[in-house]
């Protein structure tokens, strides 16, 4: 009757209006302006207690240093997945930020799904110093943000996995805190001693929804995650060995803790875990939150094999649509890539700087002297390799699949089978 | 021209017919009572007048105009609900003046009317009280005041006194009559209480099973019930009804031949009824310990003492009869004598249950 007719009419009109509007965003448009200045929106992932104050400082300094460009920083919660979600949603509605901070593990996914201006092109257009890239960054650092021959962005933060430990628990277990474990076997033995002597746990590796720390474990034993023709190849003897050791520590020795990241790290702070394998980015928080004097040592090796550990962190990608906005963004990036700002960044966050010459800054030297853990991070720079990013849509799934694999192994699944199953599944997706 | 007129009005709720072909004409300014037991349809008639109930078929005229589809608000109705329907969140003054404020009557006029109603119903000093701070009687009077200030043509009351206790009800009845005489609106009053009906009503419509059994003055309804239902319904304890084996101008009561007066003989003979039932009100029976000429011997089964009066239970032709007398003349005697007074008799056609009528000499 009449009521329902009215309803359908109303509904139909709403639907047509909405559908007409959906689908991709519109094409490039000229740069947004605000009282004459080109507006550059800078998306980052840093919180008030970790990095945001330095970013705010950089943005304020830049805005004061010139009057053509106005930079606005925007915090994106939930780290790299969180930022990617917002980027995804923004592009879906036809907008996008000028600069986005992309996690290394999203390198491939970002490259395939988003439009960006490569630093190589921007440098060419930049009349002031066209060879900026070559003269400021080492090739292996640039490689962190390069896939195939596409230089997607400029590495900004580099974090290294290192082994923090609690000297009090070491002495309680009769171990010399100065003689930190160098190999995984030593880590296992020390963890056992700590567990037997103090009843606390000996070792905990941060367990986030990613394969960062565990990639280091596998590649340091010689495993290969992704072979040259882009196929997953990590289900190898080396990986099995590495995971078997880790599994034994958790299940057989009961010396290693298998728990969610926040809880495990909190347990280390409260002196309930002897060793914590975590990111150099946590140096600040760890020293603040622990009652004991936190010490650190490099990522343990397997026997005398070369340690290969993934660089965590992010790179800056210029996602601005219009050229004018891109050049403004490039201007800002070059500003904050100056040694004195990257030094501030390293000191406050524990990230390693993407430029060699930052290490020579006096403030950095002083910080290294004050916090030995920072020195350990700097020493690990040469053994940093790119964080493996699986191509295309698989990229977002791979991290979760590796995390699920870790959880199944550490709760009893045979490493060989779990590795094989995950590798096959990934290869199926990669076709 | 009648103030309210029903012309063969029928009301159906789903399939059940609650009002069956109602014809009722109410004069302007009259106090009419709709009397009947619960579920007889009296409230429905009231609500049809007010428009709160629709009319299935037939016509309702208010002041001569057809009102079937007239909006309740346009009918000029002041109504008092059984549960008073006072707004719990409004003061007495706001409750009374609610309607007037809706009609945006100027405040000074409202104040005047409210003051008058408050005075009449002696609610002085209670104007800013909330209903829950009032006694039952006070609440009832506020409901009355609200209906009266409207000075509407029709004043409808739906069992307004049923929630009051006994003594309060007496005083409230007198007040109702006094107020009606003062405002002079047409008043339709629904109740199941006979005493209220008899004392308040100028005319009473006795209703049962959706039909008017009798419409007449209280005196007539009591003295000359139109049918068996009215006879039994009015008066408590209700009228004795028994088969007096009336034939050929005489009754046979407990094997005693009781001749009827010529008037009654003629009336009963002419009624054409196959079987006649005799009716007599308990308070119209006088029993004597000693027999008199023409008296009927009766066996007293038991008797009850109501303080100011005494009730004797005996049987006539096998059916129980009650006599109510001022004083205990029989002093517990097992048997007594009853000489039926022709002026107190009623005769009904057993089949049609309607009254055969009264001979001239029976009139007071």
């Amino acid at each position: 009757m009449k009521l329902i007719k009215w309803l359908c009419l109303f509904l139909a009109s709403v639907m047509t209006l909405a559908f007409a509007g959906c689908g991709g965003g519109d094409t490039a448009k000229e740069a947004p302006k605000e009282n004459g200045k080109t507006v550059v929106t800078f998306w980052h992932v840093y919180t008030k207690n970790f990095g945001a104050p330095v970013i705010k400082q950089m943005v304020d300094d830049f805005n004061k240093s010139q009057d053509k460009i106005l930079v606005k920083e925007v915090y994106n919660p939930d780290m790299y997945p969180g930022l990617m979600k917002n980027l995804q949603a923004d592009v879906a509605s036809g907008k996008s930020p000028s600069i986005a901070m992309i996690g290394y593990n999203y390198l491939d996914y970002f490259n395939e799904n988003f439009q960006y201006a490569s630093p190589v092109d921007l440098a060419k257009k930049d009349t002031k110093d066209p060879d900026y890239l070559e003269k400021t960054f080492l090739p292996n650092v640039l490689a962190l943000a390069k896939t195939g021959d596409a230089q997607v962005g400029l590495p900004f933060s580099i974090s290294a996995p290192l082994l923090f430990y609690n000297p009090d628990l070491f002495t309680a277990a009769g171990l010399d805190p100065q003689a930190a474990p160098k190999t995984w076997q030593e880590v296992r033995d020390d963890a056992k001693k700590i567990h037997d002597a103090t009843g606390e746990y000996g070792f905990y590796m941060q367990e986030y929804q990613d394969n960062w720390a565990t990639q280091g474990l596998l590649t340091s034993n010689g495993a290969v995650i992704l072979d040259e023709n882009g196929k997953a190849a990590f289900a190898s003897k080396e990986s099995e060995e590495a995971y078997q050791l880790y599994q034994d520590m958790v299940l057989k020795d009961q010396s290693a803790l298998h728990i969610a990241a926040d809880e495990g790290i909190a347990s280390f702070y409260s002196g309930k875990v002897g060793m914590l394998l975590g990111t150099s980015a946590k140096i600040g928080t760890i020293t603040q939150s622990s009652a004991f004097n936190v010490m650190a040592c490099p990522f343990p090796a397997f026997g005398d094999k070369k340690v290969e550990i993934p660089a965590g962190g992010n790179f800056l990608a210029v996602t601005a649509q219009s050229e004018e906005e891109q050049m403004a963004a490039w201007e800002f990036i070059k500003f904050i890539m100056q040694p004195k700002y990257l030094a501030q960044w390293t000191i406050n966050t524990g990230y390693l700087p993407p430029r060699q010459d930052v290490a020579d800054e006096p403030s950095v030297q002083e910080a290294i002297a004050k916090t030995p853990a920072l020195k350990v991070a700097f020493d690990e720079l040469p053994s940093l390799t790119p964080w493996v990013a699986f191509p295309g849509d698989v990229g977002v799934k791979a991290e979760k699949m590796f995390a699920d694999m870790r959880d199944t192994i550490l709760s009893g699944a045979a490493p060989a089978e779990a590795l094989k199953a995950t590798q096959d599944e990934l290869n199926k997706l990669l076709k | 021209m009648y103030s309210i007129e029903f012309k063969n009005v029928v009301k159906r709720f789903g399939k059940t017919e609650v009002i069956k072909g109602l014809n009722l004409s109410i004069r302007k300014g009259e106090r009419l009572i709709l009397l009947g037991s619960s579920g007889c349809g009296k409230s429905t008639i009231l609500r049809m007048i007010s428009g709160l109930e629709t009319i299935t078929s037939g016509e309702l005229y208010l002041n001569g105009t057809l009102a079937n589809d007239m909006d309740p608000g346009d009918r000029g109705i002041g109504m008092v609900f059984q549960n008073y329907a006072l707004f719990p969140h409004m003061t007495v003054e706001k409750n009374i003046a609610y309607g007037l404020r809706i009609h945006r009557i100027p405040e000074d006029e409202i104040a005047r009317r409210v003051a008058k109603a408050v005075a009449i119903l002696n609610l002085d000093g209670l104007e800013s009280r909330l209903p829950r701070e009032l006694s039952g009687g006070q609440r009832q009077r506020v409901a009355l005041a609200r209906a009266l200030v409207k000075q509407a043509d029709f004043f409808l009351l739906d069992e307004p006194l049923s929630n009051l206790d006994a003594q309060l009800r007496g005083r409230a009845r007198k007040e109702l009559v006094r107020i009606h005489e003062m405002y002079g609106q047409t008043m339709i009053y629904v109740t199941h209480d006979q005493i209220e009906a008899m004392t308040v009503g100028q005319r009473i419509a006795v209703i049962n099973d959706g039909r008017i059994q009798m419409l007449d003055t209280p005196h007539e309804v009591y003295r000359r019930p139109a049918n068996l239902f009215v006879a039994k319904f009015i008066g408590s304890p209700s009228m004795n009804i028994f088969d007096g084996r009336t034939a050929a101008g005489a009754m046979r009561l407990n094997d005693t031949e009781v001749p009827l007066t010529p008037g009654w003989a003629e009336k009963t003979g002419a009624s054409g009824a196959e079987r006649l039932l005799t009716g007599v009100r308990p308070e119209d029976i006088t029993l004597t310990a000693e027999p008199e000429a023409g008296s009927v011997p009766v066996e007293i089964q038991y008797h009850e003492d109501y303080g100011s009066r005494v009730g004797y239970y005996f049987t006539v032709n096998g059916e129980e009869v009650i006599a109510i007398m001022r004083d205990d003349v029989l002093h517990g005697a097992g048997h007594a004598y009853w000489k039926p007074d022709p002026k107190t008799l009623h005769f009904f056609d057993a089949k049609t249950e309607s009254n055969v009528g009264y001979p001239a000499e029976a009139a007071e």
Partner: protein, 302 residues
């Protein structure tokens, strides 16, 4: 009925006014509830990641993939486990306690409903962080108690089953006080004398509860049962997102979180839409329950 106009004219005007009264709510629901429902239904037949301009029509592939994917089996089992735990702690427990509080306690029983209600004021994201902290088996208060007792607790965040229990407790913490209060109000419709009569026959409390109280409070109870499931599954979303992101190995994800994961982690809008539609169909069963019990038994005073 208006004077002069006939019955149907009046009815048409009443209907138009009624529709105007309902229109504000209806308009909001159409724009932000029904249109999305239809749009989600539309999306569930496409493969799209919200970014690329082209949307590939894949008919029922999304549904097929969902129903054949082993993860969906885990999700379904998890969802059932969530429902069982939520119904146990957020429906049965407060229901029995409401009965106890109303009929088995005399003195000082009113203070509890006020105190218990206070926990429903908390934000779920705050509750999640608090519970993660308190239930830390190693360094939290729970860990401290375990140490004192000399027990090593399993890491619930990495133990399938246990992880669902702890996460559900966050939703229980949020909803318990409110449900208890509403069920308590339901007890008002049980006449005291019925209970006293049953006690005269020495009927045990359990019998009184099942035979007298449950039937008389059925519509309130069904309302809370439905809300416990519908709201409960959406309440636990926040602790899952904050604490475990569905881990370990999807052991804490449910039908709601998985929908979010597909959309905002894997950017498979089609899969997320398909799962959302399936969720909707399941919830429609509860809507029917609401119609059958809650509406029919509603108390009419006038």
């Amino acid at each position: 009925m208006k004077s002069g106009e006939d019955q149907s004219a009046w009815r048409k005007r009443e209907r138009r006014l009624a529709f105007l009264f309902v229109l504000p709510s209806l308009a909001v629901f159409i724009l932000f509830m029904f249109y999305p429902l239809l749009y989600t239904l539309y999306l569930s037949f496409f493969r799209w990641n919200m970014v690329s301009p082209k949307m590939k029509f894949v008919a029922l592939d999304n549904y097929v993939n969902l129903l054949t994917d082993p993860v969906t089996v885990t999700i379904a089992e998890n969802t059932l486990l969530y429902i069982v735990i939520l119904v146990l702690f957020n429906f049965l427990l407060p229901y029995v306690l409401a009965f106890v509080n109303t009929f088995l306690m005399q003195k000082g029983k009113y203070v509890y409903k006020t105190l218990l209600f206070s926990s429903s004021l908390i934000a779920l994201v705050v509750g999640a962080i608090l519970f993660q902290w308190i239930f830390n088996p190693v360094s939290g208060p729970v860990g401290a108690i375990a140490d004192a007792v000399g027990v090593t607790l399993p890491a619930w965040s990495k133990t399938p089953g246990l992880v669902i229990l702890v996460i559900s407790l966050v939703a229980v913490y949020k909803a318990f006080g409110y449900n208890f209060l509403i069920l308590l109000s339901g007890m008002n419709s049980v006449p005291e004398e019925l209970i006293e009569a049953a006690r005269l026959e020495k009927a045990p409390n359990s019998n009184i509860f099942t035979k007298i109280v449950v039937p008389l409070t059925s519509s309130t109870a069904v309302y809370i049962l439905i809300m416990t499931i519908v709201q409960g599954l959406q309440y636990v979303f926040t602790p899952i997102k904050v604490l475990t992101q569905g881990g370990p190995n999807d052991a804490s994800s449910n039908i709601i979180y998985q929908g979010y994961d597909y959309a905002f982690t894997f950017y498979e809008t089609g899969m997320s839409a398909a799962l959302a539609i399936i969720t909707m169909l399941i919830f429609l069963v509860l809507l029917y329950l609401e119609f059958r019990f809650v509406e029919k038994g509603v108390y009419y005073e006038n």
